[in-house]
């Protein structure tokens, strides 16, 4: 059964003078434990679709089902609770909390969102710190580590709540190519280790090749779905 099922998703933005059609009649399904990328040029609707899947925004029309939940009808508080339970986020600018250490940044969702017991928190964080190879940096603050390390911490933070799905909007945009490959590689490894579905958006053609399924977007329309082997770089 699909983890995500989107039917006829449309998203319009009303400006002062005209309506922007960010997404039009988009249909797709994403299976559990897949490694998916939405690709397309700037303004094609990548971020919009990730925001909709991430329950950060609501479509103008259509149906969207994630982890057996119709997310469109969720109220603001229910959306927050749903995100905390089922979703993880990785941001382009890392968005770590500057006053918390690496360890505490990873711990944050367990305390503030899921209220996990201290012993279990410790175990989960240690496991993830080891998985993203940041155990030695656990006591450092975000401003004391590099961009690649920050994104590793962000990955660990996204995974620590055991989400069904991790969304990453342009996760490598602020990284050099070598670090970008290593971050994507780490995400894939996390998918393998934890069975979490990863969906990321990118316009970097080299990174696209790392995805197992890609959805191509152009002017708000889904133009193609390609699987491993079919992907055209």
């Amino acid at each position: 059964m699909a983890l995500i099922k989107a039917q006829k998703i449309t998203k319009n933005y009303q400006t002062e003078d005209f309506i922007v059609h960010a997404l039009q009649d988009v249909d797709f399904e994403i299976e559990p434990a897949s490694f998916v990328s939405f690709v397309g040029p700037s303004g094609s609707g990548k971020t919009t679709i990730l925001n909709l899947i991430g329950c950060l925004d609501k479509p103008s029309a259509g149906n969207l089902r994630i982890a057996d939940t119709e997310v469109i009808g969720l109220a603001r508080k229910e959306s927050a609770a749903f995100r905390g339970k089922h979703l993880g986020f990785i941001f382009q600018d890392f968005n770590l909390i500057p006053v918390l250490t690496v360890y505490e940044n990873i711990e944050y969702p367990l305390i503030m969102v899921q209220n996990v017991a201290p012993q279990e928190r410790k175990e989960r964080i240690s496991r993830l710190l080891a998985a993203v190879d940041m155990t030695d940096q656990a006591h450092k603050y975000p401003q004391q580590i590099s961009g690649g390390q920050k994104q590793r911490v962000a990955i660990a933070r996204a995974l620590v709540t055991n989400p069904a799905l991790v969304l990453a909007d342009e996760p490598t945009a602020n990284l050099d190519s070598q670090t970008a490959y290593s971050v994507i590689g780490l995400m894939k490894k996390m998918r393998d280790d934890f069975g979490t579905t990863f969906i990321f958006s990118t316009h970097d053609t080299k990174i696209v090749g790392e995805a197992e399924v890609i959805f191509r977007l152009e002017d708000g329309r889904l133009t193609a779905k390609e699987t491993k082997g079919e992907i055209k770089l």
């Binding site: 508080k77 927050a80 944050y108 503030m112 969102v113 933070r157 996204a158």
Partner: protein, 412 residues
């Protein structure tokens, strides 16, 4: 909750200079209020003490209607001995009463055989009067601290004006209740400094002498001054005594007696109220300082951390927790400002007491100001600061919690 505090404190430390400035502003406000409250409070307490302990007593009981005509010192509104004995029985049985003193008050003429002037006289039982208004003896600037039959203590203004000295013989002439006039010679045994304004023409003689001058076979009583064991329980004591004496009615079935606290008898009470009003407005200023500074810093904090708010909201932090984070920041600022302000305020009050500030009140000179801070003052000011700090954080905190994560994440 501990983690919310940890994050709030770290966020405050993150903007050290701003936090320091805001906390300093609150601290200065708290110190200012505490010092003001301690000095004015002490001044007020000292003045009330002077008035009640050297003249009025804490409260007084009169025959109904006497206080309304008190300027005339009406002899026809005195309590008869039988009526006074009822009051005395009630007061003797009352556990909150430390002492009470019956007074026979009347107006008369004071003469040194060369000049004559008017005088207000208090006929008293000296021992009971000194127990009820213990500071009366401290007002005796010249002469002995007792009062025997045939002796008179006169106010210093009168002594100076008429050139009367200790040991001089003077004459008191007074109109009796039936309209006849009587006089009696007295020896000046003491000269009194006045406590404050109206007391400037009050002299003291023994109550038996007063009865003799007024040709009373048995001394009547104009007023009964009362000293309580615990002055802070004055309102309750007034109420209790009112209840106890309200049962005494005259032939027309109207109450015979009325009870008045010092507040109803002294014009200084209005000054005391003015001090309270000033203290109130100083507290309002403190509230304004805290409100503006905390609100300013929290609005800035929210504005500067919009993306951060977007991030924590995106990863599932509920709006209530986001709100709490910012409210706790305001709370912590308030607590820090209040605690440091309290400590510095206590230190300043200690320094004021070490230095020893002296001032004059009426004709009393060199009174030492003993600034005191009650725990209740510290608690009240601290609670005001903390509550206002939390209140000032509410608007920015609510704004933060209502932010749409998608818009907050887009913020540059």
């Amino acid at each position: 909750m501990i983690n919310l505090f940890k994050i709030a404190i770290r966020n405050l430390i993150r903007y050290k200079r701003r936090t320091l400035l805001t906390a300093s502003l609150i601290t200065i406000g708290v110190v200012f209020v505490l010092v003001f409250v301690s000095i004015t409070g002490s001044f007020k307490a000292m003045m009330i003490g002077q008035i009640t302990d050297s003249m009025l007593g804490h409260l007084q009981i009169h025959r109904k209607g006497y206080v309304a005509s008190i300027d005339n010192l009406p002899l026809n509104l005195n309590m008869k001995p039988q009526a006074y004995s009822k009051i005395a029985t009630v007061l003797t049985a009352s556990p909150q009463v430390e002492a009470f003193s019956p007074r026979l008050k009347f107006g008369g003429m004071f003469s040194n055989f060369v000049e004559t002037t008017n005088i207000r006289l208090n006929g008293i039982y000296p021992d009971r009067e000194f127990q009820t208004v213990p500071l009366l003896t401290s007002r005796i600037s010249e002469g002995k601290k007792t009062l025997s039959r045939g002796e008179i203590m006169i106010p210093t203004l009168l002594a100076k004006g008429l050139g009367v000295k200790l040991g001089d013989t003077v004459v008191i002439v007074a109109t009796n209740v039936d309209g006849s006039v009587n006089g009696k010679q007295f020896i000046v045994s003491g000269i009194l400094e006045s406590a404050t304004g109206p007391g400037g023409r009050d002299g003291y003689i023994n109550i038996e002498d007063a009865a003799e001058v007024l040709r009373m076979t048995e001394a009547e009583v104009s007023e009964v001054a009362i000293r309580l064991k615990d002055f802070s329980r004055l309102p309750a004591a007034v109420k209790q005594l009112e209840n106890k004496v309200s049962g005494e009615v005259n032939k027309e079935a109207r109450p015979m007696f009325e009870v008045h606290s010092w507040e109803q008898l002294s014009p200084f009470f209005n000054i005391a109220r003015m001090i309270d009003v000033m203290t109130f407005f100083i507290k309002i200023m403190l509230i304004a300082i805290v409100l503006i500074s905390i609100m300013n810093v929290m609005i800035m904090a929210v504005y500067e951390r919009i993306r951060e708010i977007g991030t924590i909201a995106a990863i599932g932090t509920l709006p209530g927790k986001i709100r709490s984070m910012f409210i706790i920041e305001g709370f912590c600022l308030g607590v820090v400002g209040a605690i440091i302000g309290d400590l510095i305020g206590i230190a300043v009050v200690l320094i004021i007491n070490l230095v020893g500030i002296r001032f004059d009140f009426a004709q009393q000179q060199g009174l030492l100001l003993k600034a005191t801070l009650q725990p209740s003052d510290l608690l009240t000011v601290s609670i005001i600061v903390i509550v206002v700090a939390v209140g000032a954080s509410l608007q920015p905190a609510i704004k933060a919690s209502k932010m749409e994560p998608i818009e907050a994440l887009r913020h540059v």
